[in-house]
Symmetry: C2
Subunit: 355 residues, 2 copies
């Protein structure tokens, strides 16, 4: 029996992607070699890399708009420092909406002055700050589009004359946005794009070359854009599986189609959280709720072992909340079927009947 | 028909590793989840990471000797800068034996003074420099154990009071050495350890904490050792396949057993290069020849298309030399069977008969 996988990341990918990835490990495209043993300079892999870059930009509506797509390594955690290394000359503004923003701020402070433009730390990040003003004279403004741990999501993005930098690790390719508003978008692959081990970087080339410090080659966006993301050996398999996932998304109808499905899944779980007296949502304001990660707790903690038994019995995996929040977290990335959310809702309803 | 894969890296891995990796992509250890969709904090993956670290140290004879094994991202190219970021306070010594040493030197110069202790650049890196002296007062001494592009290999390592740092990307786990001589060993996985996307770092903890600069978290060895290589999401699949490959090596009898097999393969190809009047080796001195990468050219360039036809016809892949050297390169990593080398030797003999 296939599990209903609500893991926060690494997370579920489409079943057809798993099958194609397994096939490629045994014999890639019928060339009698494994995807794991071919040269990254082979014609076959160069074609994979080029198509993945092309498709990422195309799905985001950024083709021919001065952007490059890179598949790097090191996760968003490496981007926290790379963004600052490449872009922070004097002063940058950060919006602090959770654990990942806080970590990004910590790394940026090694490279220049950081202004915390807005923060929801005062209420353990259970809301998205609004009505703040962005000062002028910043090198860039940084935000986190979706907060995996707390279950909040930015619905509006700040406006500024400075380039907008966004960590979209946990909701890229999940909803339609005007991506051309951003100067730099980065995302660990392991939510909506692929397996762990690749990091997508979408960069507007015109924002580069404005800091005076020397940048080590592997941390220099210009080095990677100049080499079409092949400066050194890329994470071949993770890039290939990301390509398979992007192809699946395109065949599904692209971002607007998946956004509709994601909205339906989110409405299903949040309706139940709001209706069922045994559950309460973690996020203070409904408009700040994430369509990717629904965080909730039991109103009566003594029901925990009963509820845990119910959802585990139903074949659900990965529902425990992060230790910073407690309770439960239902991560509903692109590849999670609506049926899995239905199974979870039924477990919640079953608890209500039994309690 | 399975190819005879002489690719320089990413390269051949054991057939049983490909099979187990493909199985895990569909259903990991019978838990009804793919290795690509499980949390890196799951009990299953934590066990993989711990065993991979334990086995790497054990195979190298470094258990309980003050070393930690890390599985990071970014390849040796990232280690070029991390080594200097973490260890270079004033002055470091580098032995320049090829393209990778040259790149390591370039990155280190951003962090302090670099003394080139020895170099074979004067003859396009076709030999290993010897009879040089290591100055005192260095923060560390850096060398490259095997030069993939040129086909040379260090047989003796420099001695110094300073920690010895070694890029072993292309020959780690291929031969017995006293690994406790080294303070830091790093290696991209994609030769003898696994697929691209993971980088093994073996570090003696006592050499850390001696530089005064602030180090970004992801570039700080202490951060990674403190979190047992789980500071952020590791490259899950690449670590798992590395574990499978290390298990295969252990079952083969470990490094001493594989060294014997590697020596036999190298003797087979070098004997033919020396015997066959149509071929000549690139490396000037026989004692500097690499047991991993044999570089050679045709004595008569007009035979190129005939020879290329012969080895391709025999099912050989990845024999073209690097553009810096030209000619041919037979990469014979741990997983390459002796039979594949025999097939290549037969193609070379066939050319002699036809010519």
């Amino acid at each position: 029996m296939k599990k209903h996988n609500f893991s926060a990341g690494p997370c579920i990918l489409p079943a057809e992607v798993f099958q194609k990835a397994a096939d490629a490990v045994l014999n890639f495209q019928g060339i009698d070699l494994s995807i794991l043993e071919i040269s990254h300079r082979s014609a076959e892999f160069v074609a994979v890399m080029e198509e993945a870059q092309h498709l990422a930009l195309s799905l985001l509506g950024l083709s021919d708009k001065g952007y490059k797509a890179l598949f790097l390594q090191g996760g968003a955690s490496t981007q926290f420092l790379m963004a600052a290394y490449n872009l922070l000359e004097n002063k940058a503004g950060y919006i602090n909406t959770g654990t990942w923003s806080t970590k990004a701020i910590k790394e940026a402070k090694l490279f220049g002055e950081v202004v915390e433009i807005a923060s929801s730390k005062d209420q353990n990040f259970n809301y998205i700050p609004k009505d703040f003003s962005v000062p002028s004279g910043l090198d860039y403004v940084h935000c986190t589009s979706n907060n995996t741990i707390f279950g909040t999501q930015l619905k509006e993005f700040p406006t500024s004359e400075a380039p907008l930098v966004c960590d979209m690790s946990s909701d890229i390719f999940s909803r339609a946005l005007d991506f051309s508003k951003f100067g730099l978008i980065y995302a660990g692959a392991q939510k909506n794009m692929g397996p762990a081990g690749a990091t997508l970087v979408i960069i507007k080339e015109s924002i580069l070359g404005k800091v005076s410090r020397s940048i080590p080659s592997m941390l220099d966006y210009s080095v990677h854009t100049g080499k079409e993301s092949m400066f050194n050996t890329p994470p071949v398999f993770s890039v290939y599986v990301s390509l398979l996932t992007l192809q699946w998304l395109q065949n599904k109808g692209g971002i607007s189609a998946i956004e509709k499905a994601n909205t339906e899944k989110a409405e299903l779980i949040y309706s139940e959280i709001d209706r069922n007296p045994l559950f309460t949502g973690f996020v203070a304001n409904k408009e700040d709720r994430s369509n990717m990660n629904a965080t909730f707790t039991l109103t009566d903690a003594s029901l925990q072992s009963t509820f845990d038994g119910l959802w585990k019995e139903a074949g659900i995996n990965g529902l425990n909340g992060h230790r910073s929040v407690g309770g439960y977290r239902a991560s509903m990335y692109n590849a999670l079927p609506k049926e899995s959310v239905q199974v979870l809702v039924e477990a919640m309803q079953q608890l209500e009947k039994q309690a």
